[in-house]
């Protein structure tokens, strides 16, 4: 058991581990709705659009987290607003905003020669989380779980039957905007762990894994969360012992879990026949 405990003598490993578990919990539980509502593309887009926010915050020495949240929320509202007018289809609106914002981020970066944090933003730096970061991550985790619990029946109903929601006066748009803002916050937290490029994996892979294993929503959330937290743990230790990128290791563990679930399900179906 020493190999499990040894790394924890370092403060950066302890805070990294705590961050990985909290990020896994947040991303996976919200990710279940991302998968069920076919929003995988939006999750990826939001992760990319926070880049200019991060850069602007960095250049002005503001809080990076705050900059990312502002950019994410603005994009979330922008997507909703652009596609609501129905002149542009939603997937097109997302594509336009996401590439435009990402390009703006790269442009801003290219104006500064001494921008050292770029790889941290793109690929995550979970071992570099500060106490402030950890507080923010915990705050987002509590907020997301609280909202998912309080508005469970509305989220569920608008996901599978928005028509009935509208008939009883519950506007699906309200829920959708709320979910997009929540998603923006979650994505910013995910970036801490695995970076802009891979955050979407933390949202959708554990949830997709869970959806292969059960067709009950609460159970799906529990399985997704367990998959994400285990992946965080495995990824962190892999990075400690083999000096590989922690973000990549976390995501690959998620992918491996999905592969196993897929295999298990296929085999089970064979046996059934």
């Amino acid at each position: 058991m020493d190999w499990l405990i040894d790394p924890l003598q370092y403060a950066f490993m302890r805070s990294g581990l705590l961050a990985a578990l909290l990020v896994g919990l947040t991303c996976a539980s919200l990710g279940v709705y991302v998968v069920l509502r076919h929003m995988a593309f939006i999750g990826d887009a939001l992760a990319h659009t926070v880049l200019p926010g991060l850069v602007v915050a960095y250049l002005n020495r503001w809080n990076l987290f705050g900059g990312a949240v502002v950019a994410g929320v603005l994009t979330a509202l922008g997507i909703g607003w652009l596609s609501r007018r129905q002149e542009v289809r939603e997937d097109t609106a997302i594509g336009i905003l996401f590439t435009g914002m990402f390009a703006l981020g790269i442009l801003l970066i290219s104006t500064v020669r001494s921008f050292r944090d770029l790889s941290h933003i793109l690929f995550g730096d979970i071992l570099g989380v500060t106490a402030t970061d950890l507080g923010l991550i915990a705050g987002v985790a509590v907020l997301v779980l609280l909202i998912l619990a309080l508005f469970h029946k509305e989220l569920e109903l608008t996901s599978f039957d928005p028509t009935h929601a509208q008939v009883i006066g519950l506007r699906p748009d309200t829920i959708r905007y709320g979910l997009l803002v929540l998603l923006a916050l979650t994505v910013v937290v995910g970036i801490q762990a695995v970076g802009v490029v891979l955050t979407n994996a933390l949202l959708i892979t554990p949830a997709a894994t869970a959806s292969l294993l059960t067709n009950r929503l609460p159970r799906m959330m529990v399985i997704a969360t367990v998959v994400a937290m285990i992946s965080g743990l495995v990824g962190l230790y892999a990075s400690y012992y083999f000096s590989v990128s922690s973000g990549a290791a976390i995501v690959l563990t998620c992918t491996a879990c999905f592969g196993l679930a897929w295999l298990g399900r296929t085999l089970a179906q064979r046996v059934d026949r």
Partner: protein
């Protein structure tokens, strides 16, 4: 559960108007309605009066405007011209009293939810934000599931039901709402004999309770046994019934000038 400490927060605070005494359950005067994006409205100048306690069929081919009329009454589509009233009130202010049964294609049947919870969503209009369904709500759901012969399927994921069973689950939800006016869009479309018999029974039961039902159908077979009146629609307008077809109590166009 200390549910009483949670204040009532309805989804639509203006939706609890009282019916106007003596007003028909559903009244349309020369209304036009349709999808805003479509060029011309799907429904043009249709009039209708459904007295409280009546069961009325909307009959017509696919694309005639039956669904449009029901959707407008359910508040899903804007009324572009004419007047549409429910219990004498404008659309949207009597929401808890109006249940709407959508066509099956409106629902994501792969979503991980079971039959009991699907039917439970019929209670949400009475709960509003933050309140969780209580013992009374669950009891009601169990009762309607028994009434519709679905009690043994309560724990099934909704996608694992047959077409007829899905249709019955949607009807169960409409009943669980305990509404006074039921707007049913094609509840008999492509269903098995068992479902058909159960729907007939449900319509008779509603009649006994003094409730009102407006049902879109393109099935001319059982109009006389299941309904009190019929309105024939084609291409968005009221048309005269086919020779020898069931008419029942007058519900259509003549109201535009007498009423």
């Amino acid at each position: 559960m200390k549910e009483s400490i949670i204040p009532a927060l309805p989804y639509n605070p203006r939706s609890f108007a009282e019916p106007i005494p003596g007003a028909p359950a559903l009244e349309a005067l020369n209304i036009s309605a349709g999808y805003p994006s479509a060029g011309s409205p799907a429904l043009r100048g249709v009039s209708l009066r459904v007295p409280v306690g009546a069961r009325v069929a909307l009959v017509g081919p696919n694309g005639a405007g039956k669904s449009t009329l029901l959707k407008a009454a359910a508040g899903l589509l804007p009324v572009e011209g004419g007047e549409l009233r429910i219990f004498g009130q404008p659309i949207g202010v009597c929401q808890p009293r109006v249940a709407y049964l959508p066509q099956r294609s409106e629902i994501d049947w792969r979503f991980p939810i079971n039959v009991h919870r699907l039917v439970l969503t019929g209670r949400y209009v009475h709960l509003g934000w933050l309140k969780r369904p209580g013992a009374h709500d669950h009891h009601l759901v169990k009762q309607v599931l028994i009434q519709l012969g679905l009690e043994h399927l309560a724990g099934r994921q909704i996608g694992q039901l047959s077409g007829g069973q899905q249709q019955r689950a949607l009807l169960a939800r409409a009943l669980a709402q305990e509404a006074d006016l039921l707007l049913l869009d094609e509840p008999l479309n492509a269903v098995d004999a068992e479902t058909r018999a159960i729907v007939t029974e449900v319509l008779a039961g509603l009649k006994q309770q003094g409730k009102t039902a407006v049902v879109a159908t393109h099935d001319l077979g059982r109009l006389e046994t299941d309904f009190d009146g019929a309105l024939y629609i084609s291409e968005g307008r009221e048309v005269s019934p086919p020779p020898g077809a069931f008419v029942g109590l007058p519900v259509g166009q003549e109201l535009a000038w007498t009423g």
